[in-house]
Every structure is written in structure tokens, then in C-alpha cells.
């Protein structure tokens, strides 16, 4: 049995595409969710949780994009 499925280079680019794509999606979708949540009643604990969750989601997205850049440029 082969030890690898595809070449190392192809695999690295596959991972970068998936990580970068998902991270960019997270930044986009959580920015939208944050905008919606901020328009709600901020005294409601559920809305506050959504705001906090969206901020964390945006940070996670940028961390993913940063990791891809670090891997290819750093």
C-alpha cells in the first residue's frame, strides 16, 4: 500500500485551500451574524452570547488565514 494518497506538494496546497477557504467563510458569515446580533436587544443574554460567539468566530477565521500565510510566506 502507498504511504501517501497524493504528492506532498499537492496535499499542502489542498490543505491550504481548505483552511483558507473555510477561514474566509468564517470571517464573512460571522461578520454578517455579528451585524445582525448587534441590531438586537443587547440586554438579552442569548444575544450577548451570539455577539461573543461571532467575535470569536471572526478571530478564528483570521487565525486560519494567518496560519496559511505563515505556512507559505513565513
Amino acid at each position: 500500500m502507498s504511504t501517501e494518497i497524493v504528492s506532498a506538494t499537492a496535499y499542502t496546497w489542498f490543505l491550504s485551500s481548505v483552511i483558507g477557504g473555510v477561514a474566509a467563510y468564517w470571517v464573512g458569515i460571522d461578520s454578517y451574524r455579528l451585524k445582525k446580533a448587534l441590531a438586537g436587544d443587547r440586554t438579552d443574554p442569548a444575544i450577548r452570547d451570539r455577539i461573543f460567539g461571532s467575535v470569536i468566530g471572526i478571530i478564528v477565521g483570521f487565525v486560519g488565514l494567518g496560519g496559511v500565510l505563515l505556512h507559505h510566506v513565513g
Binding site: 501517501e4 490543505l15 443574554p45 452570547d49 461573543f52 460567539g53 478564528v60 494567518g66 496560519g67 505563515l70
Partner: protein, 188 residues
């Protein structure tokens, strides 16, 4: 009629555990790509169990809890395995696993305070669980593991501080009065 706990969604959730032995086999043999593949299948099944619960209308409180436990066990186990093989730095993994164990304990306290089987909903933790699904792949492929694991440990610390207050102290929506009273008596 209440949905049974033996249902297609929970079967898919349980099937995720079957991927752990092949994952260990792949890591043990140094097959990085296969190890990642097994983790990716685990992640895809995580998407499908929620979908199956909606399609077959078999959403149960146990199913929600089981899904959260499966997430913690599968991703936590993958992290521990890649750490044991020296593929990722151990200090952030120790922090992550410890916080994960504390989180599960607090969820149990939350369910006890609520007086019913319930899964604590945290949007921030949901984002981190999705991130955790990637950590295994970062570890199995030497894809900036130091950066990704340390950032995750820092983010998880922040989210845990936030969620601990909500799970252990804040009022629970819809909690029966007796459960709240018992919690207050236990705390005093």
C-alpha cells in the same frame, strides 16, 4: 411521542468512534495523509448527524449531549495521539485537554442546575469545536502546529472564562424553580 435515543442520527454520531482505531494505525505508521483523511471523515459525519436528526425528526436532548461528548472525545483523542507521537507541542495540548475536561464537568453542573438533560449552548465554543476539528489535521501534516495549537489554547481560555460564569452562576432560562432552589441550597 418522544423520539427514541436509538435513531439514525445517534448511530452516525456513534460511528465516528469507529474511525479512531484506523487513525491511530495511520499515525503509528507515519501515514500523515491517511490520518488526516480519517479525521476529515469524522468531521463530515459530524455534519451529517445533525442533518439526519432534522430529516428523520429524531432530535433528542440525549442526542445533543451525545454529539458534544463525541466531539470532545474524537478531537481530544486525536490531539492526544499526535502529541504522544511528538507531532505537536505538548504544553498547549495539556491546556486544551484540561480545559475540555473542565468544560464537560461544567456542562454536567449546568444540566443539574437546569434539572433536566440539556446541552449548554455556547456559540463561541461551537466555533472552537470547529477549529478543534482542524487541529488534528494541522498536527498530522506538520502544518504550523505550534502557531495553531498555542492560539487555540489562548482562545479556549478566554471562552472558558466567559462560559464558566454562564454555566455555573447565571440564571438558566426555563429552569424549574425546584432545581434553582436546590442549586442555591447546594451552593450555600
Amino acid at each position: 411521542m418522544a423520539a427514541s435515543n436509538i435513531n439514525p442520527a445517534n448511530a452516525i454520531t456513534a460511528s465516528r468512534f469507529l474511525l479512531l482505531p484506523p487513525f491511530v494505525w495511520a499515525v503509528d505508521n507515519g501515514y500523515q495523509q491517511y490520518a488526516t483523511l480519517f479525521l476529515m471523515i469524522c468531521g463530515v459525519l459530524d455534519l451529517f448527524d445533525g442533518m439526519a436528526a432534522r430529516v428523520f425528526k429524531c432530535q433528542t436532548p440525549f442526542g445533543e449531549m451525545f454529539d458534544a461528548i463525541a466531539d470532545a472525545l474524537c478531537y481530544g483523542f486525536a490531539m492526544v495521539v499526535v502529541t504522544a507521537y511528538g507531532w505537536v507541542p505538548w504544553p498547549p495540548v495539556a491546556i486544551i485537554v484540561t480545559l475540555g475536561a473542565v468544560n464537560m464537568g461544567l456542562r454536567a453542573i449546568y444540566a443539574k442546575r437546569a434539572g433536566r438533560t440539556t446541552n449548554y449552548q455556547s456559540h463561541a465554543m461551537e466555533r472552537l469545536v470547529a477549529y478543534a476539528a482542524y487541529l488534528g489535521a494541522f498536527g498530522t501534516n506538520n502544518y504550523e502546529p505550534t502557531y495553531f495549537f498555542w492560539v487555540f489554547a489562548a482562545l479556549m481560555t478566554v471562552v472558558m472564562l466567559h462560559d464558566t460564569k454562564r454555566m455555573a452562576f447565571d440564571p438558566i432560562p426555563g429552569a424549574p424553580a425546584t432545581a434553582s432552589r436546590h442549586a442555591m441550597e447546594a451552593a450555600s
